[in-house]
C-alpha cells in the first residue's frame, strides 16, 4: 500500500446520533455507495484525511521513480530499457493523476510538494530501500507493484469520486507493471546463469519483508483504520490486505523456484491461508521516522531537482505572461 498510517485526526468513530443533519446525510450517501464529489459537503476530517492519503500516495509514485531510475541507464538490453522507462514514466503520470485528485479538495500541488520537501508529508516506506542488482527491477515490479495493486484494486471503490477515478485509470495502466517485473525474474531463473539466479534470490531476500511492511502496521496498532473504513476511504484493513497479498504471491514464488526469507511461512489448512512470521516493526517504524537506508538521499534528490528547476518554471511562466500581455495589447 502506498499510503501508510494516514492520520484521520479522529480518536474514535463518531456515533451517528452525535452527527448534525449534514453529516448524517453525508454518511447516508457513503452507506449507499454513492461517490462524494469535490463540491459536495463533507466533514472537515474526511477532507483532511483524503488530502493526506492521496498526497502520500502521489508522493510515493514520484519518489518511487528513484529506485528504478537507479538502473535505467544500465538496463541490460534495449527491450528492458524501454519497458523500464515506460514503467517509470507511468509512475510519474500516476503521481500527476493523484495530485490532480488531491487538488480537487482545495489544496495546490505546490503546497503538497512543499510538505514532501520539508519532510512534513510521508511516502511509502518501501522506496527508502536501495536497489542493488538488476533483479531488483523484477522484484520491485512483482512484489512492490504487486502489493500496491492489491490495495489499489480495492481503492477503485473508494468513496471520493476523483480519487476513485484516478485509481481506475491507474489500475488499468499498472496491470503490465507486475507482469513485467515477474517476467524479468522468470527469464533470469529459467534462462539465466547461476549468477543471475543468485541475483533473483538476493533481490527477493532483501525486498520480501519491506514489501509486507507496505500494508502498514497490524490492525491492533492502526488506530486510524476504523474511521477510514467507516468513511470508505479505505475498504479493507492492513492485515486483510497483507494476507491477500501473501496468499496470491506464494504460488508465484514457487513457480519461480525461489524461497521467501521466512522460516515460519507455511500453508494453514484450517484457515485456508498462509501463516507467516512476525514483521520487524522496529525497522518499519524507523524507516517511517526517516532512518531507512535511503530516506535522506531520496528526499535530497527530490528537493535538489525542485530547486534546480525553479528558474525553468519561472521562465516558462514569465514567457506565458508576456505572451498574454501582448495578445491583450493587440485586442485593445
Amino acid at each position: 500500500m502506498y499510503a501508510q498510517m494516514v492520520e484521520t485526526g479522529v480518536k474514535t468513530v463518531k456515533d451517528r446520533s452525535e452527527m448534525g443533519a449534514e453529516e448524517q446525510a453525508f454518511m447516508a450517501r457513503i452507506d449507499e455507495e454513492s461517490k462524494i464529489e469535490p463540491q459536495d459537503w463533507m466533514p472537515d476530517a474526511y477532507r483532511k484525511t483524503l488530502v493526506r492519503q492521496i498526497s502520500q500516495h502521489a508522493h510515493s509514485e514520484i519518489i518511487g521513480m528513484q529506485p528504478e531510475g537507479n538502473w535505467l541507464t544500465r538496463a541490460p538490453t534495449i527491450k528492458r530499457k524501454l519497458q523500464l522507462a515506460a514503467k517509470i514514466q507511468d509512475e510519474c503520470g500516476h503521481g500527476q493523476y493523484l495530485y490532480s485528485a488531491a487538488e480537487t479538495l482545495g489544496v495546490g500541488r505546490d503546497e503538497l510538494l512543499d510538505q514532501l520537501h520539508t519532510g512534513k508529508a510521508k511516502y511509502s516506506s518501501i522506496f527508502n530501500y536501495p536497489t542493488l542488482n538488476w533483479a531488483d527491477m523484477g522484484a520491485v515490479g512483482w512484489l512492490v507493484d504487486g502489493a500496491a495493486i492489491v490495495n489499489q484494486v480495492i481503492l477503485q471503490r473508494t468513496s471520493y469520486g476523483p480519487y476513485s477515478r484516478a485509481m481506475v485509470r491507474i489500475c488499468k495502466e499498472e496491470s503490465f507493471h507486475q507482469r513485467q517485473g515477474y517476467e524479468i525474474l522468470l527469464t533470469m531463473m529459467e534462462k539465466g546463469t547461476q549468477a543471475q539466479k543468485d541475483m533473483v534470490q538476493d533481490a527477493i531476500n532483501r525486498l520480501w519483508w519491506p514489501s509486507l511492511m507496505m500494508f502498514g502496521p497490524n490492525d491492533d496498532s492502526s488506530p486510524n483504520t476504523a474511521q477510514s473504513l467507516e468513511w470508505k476511504i479505505k475498504r479493507k484493513t492492513n492485515d486483510e490486505l497483507r494476507q491477500m497479498f501473501i496468499d496470491q504471491t506464494i504460488p508465484q514464488l514457487e513457480v519461480l523456484g525461489c524461497t521467501a526469507p521466512d522460516p515460519d511461512l507455511k500453508w494453514n489448512e484450517a484457515t485456508g491461508h498462509y501463516d507467516f512470521g512476525e514483521i520487524n516493526w522496529e525497522e518499519f517504524f524507523n524507516v517511517i521516522k526517516g532512518n531507512g537506508p535511503c530516506n535522506k538521499q531520496r528526499l535530497a534528490k527530490k528537493v535538489n531537482a525542485h530547486e534546480q528547476g525553479a528558474w525553468v518554471r519561472e521562465a516558462a511562466m514569465a514567457h506565458a505572461t508576456k505572451q498574454q500581455a501582448k495578445a491583450a495589447a493587440k485586442v485593445a
Binding site: 464529489e37 463540491q39 459536495d40 459537503w41 515506460a86 514514466q89 507511468d90 503520470g93 500527476q96 493523476y97 490532480s100 487538488e103 495546490g108 500541488r109 505546490d110 503546497e111 510538494l113 512543499d114 520537501h117 484516478a166 485509470r169 495502466e173 525542485h306 530547486e307 525553479a310 518554471r313 519561472e314 516558462a316 511562466m317 514567457h319 506565458a320 505572451q323 498574454q324
Partner: protein, 95 residues
C-alpha cells in the same frame, strides 16, 4: 523555496473518431500550448486519443450541489419524454 505552481487546465480527450470529448483529468501548464503538450504526454501514452481540448480550470462554471434537487428532479416525473411510455401493439413495437 516555493515558487507558485503553474496554472491548472482541465483536459478532455476524444478517444475515437465519432465520440465526444470526455473529461480525463487535469494538467499544470504555463499556457494553452503548453497544456496541450503536457496533456498529450500524460493522457495519451497508450494511444488513447485522436483530439485534445484543454480549458483553464478557473474558467469552468459548475452547478452548485445544493441546487441538485431544484435543477434535476423535475424531469424524473416527465416519463412521457421516454419512448417506453407509449404502448404500441406488438406488430409495430419496433418503432
Amino acid at each position: 523555496m516555493s515558487t507558485a505552481d503553474w496554472p491548472l487546465f482541465e483536459v478532455f480527450i476524444r478517444s475515437r473518431h465519432g465520440l465526444s470529448h470526455k473529461h480525463v483529468g487535469s494538467v499544470h501548464a504555463v499556457d494553452a500550448t503548453n497544456a496541450l503538450e503536457n496533456a498529450r504526454e500524460l493522457y495519451t501514452r497508450r494511444n488513447e486519443g485522436t483530439s485534445i481540448w484543454v480549458v483553464p480550470s478557473n474558467t469552468i462554471t459548475a452547478s452548485a450541489p445544493e441546487q441538485k434537487d431544484a435543477l434535476f428532479t423535475s424531469p424524473v416525473d416527465k416519463i412521457y419524454r421516454h419512448p417506453s411510455f407509449y404502448e404500441l401493439p406488438a406488430a409495430v413495437d419496433k418503432m
